[in-house]
Symmetry: C2
Subunit: 209 residues, 2 copies
């Protein structure tokens, strides 16, 4: 038996998580009926984490997202997050989880290039030879940078969870990602954020555990 | 001039944040017109962080929340979070930010008492002499425990940001908190979570910086 279920590790936590999953299923059953079991499990966890059934409508995955994401995760490839909060939420991964947002080099690079720190952090990861799954829960600028780095062959990305949040540029960046050939999970529109990003990745990790 | 604005620290980040704040204001202006400037600022930041204007309808503060919260924050009192993700998001505070969820003692206490780790973590904080602002973004069980500890005089709580998320018990726990005499910020219904909790506290911190 797995020792955790949707983040719960005690009998009480497990009961709450199981009851929640049941409620979530009843709320989004119809909307998720055309998804694969793995995709459905990811969407359920996102709705569980946000208590917002709208995510069943706006969460979109490329056809190869689950396959490529699981492949990378099961090989223990690195995970790269845009902000520390996202990193803090991925708490059952045996591989490396990197976040360069507070790295002195990212801060300098952002100033020098007049870009955001989140974007600079992606560039830094590419320079450090990153290979794995990128998880962006906050910054559209980081997502644009990843697409650029992949396009120019400067970053080895296996899959991207791209769910930046906000009214300025987030929706556009996610739409652009979904139109690339990078295996991806996105949310349509301004909504997204840390819990969505974390739920998607933890769900992948949970499938292979 | 403040060196950050809504988490942004570069010119590019600042511009995005400023534009976002403008859009947020236009979306929720009517709904927040009866709030004080500080309360309004908190709600704006929550909507900015979630890209979900519904938070302008469901975020409720007790009349003394801003005053008591600011008083504690300006004195550098401790902040106690239920989960690491919330702690990771509070990144400009000069005081201590504690989180006991992964503390071995909390894990043992949870097993012994058959409670969740999040609840055990609150009990542990009380034993350690915690005094300050409690920030709960995830676990209703932690929130119930805090109310119990305050009721029995076992915990010195100045204010509570109580925004646990989920379909099981979250709404009830927040309703109960809002009916206590503890200075509080809550969200009505199942919605809430890490970004909401973090936005509320960072907004308070930002007011005094």
């Amino acid at each position: 038996m797995k020792t955790t279920f949707m983040g719960a590790s005690t009998k009480q936590g497990y009961e709450i998580a199981a009851k929640s999953r049941e409620i979530v299923r009843s709320l989004i059953d119809e909307k998720t009926k055309n998804l694969t079991p793995e995709e459905r499990s990811i969407v359920e966890r996102i709705v569980h984490s946000t208590a917002d059934p709208e995510y069943a409508d706006i969460t979109k995955m490329s056809g190869d997202f689950v396959e490529k994401g699981l492949e990378a995760i099961s090989k223990g490839k690195d995970i790269l997050t845009d902000i520390s909060m996202v990193k803090a939420g991925i708490n059952k991964y045996s591989g490396n989880i990197n976040c360069y947002i507070n790295d002195e080099r990212a801060i300098k690079l952002a100033k020098d290039q007049e870009i955001t720190r989140a974007a600079a952090a992606m560039e830094l990861a590419a320079c450090d030879g990153f290979e794995g799954v990128v998880v962006i829960g906050n910054a559209p600028t980081a997502l644009w940078k990843v697409m650029e780095l992949v396009e120019t062959g400067s970053m080895n990305v296996k899959a991207v969870v791209g769910v930046p949040v906000g009214f300025v540029g987030a929706a556009e960046s996610k739409k652009a990602l979904h139109e690339t050939s990078i295996p991806n999970l996105v949310t349509e529109g301004p909504k997204g954020g840390t819990p969505v990003a974390v739920a998607a990745v933890n769900s992948l990790i949970n499938i292979i555990r």
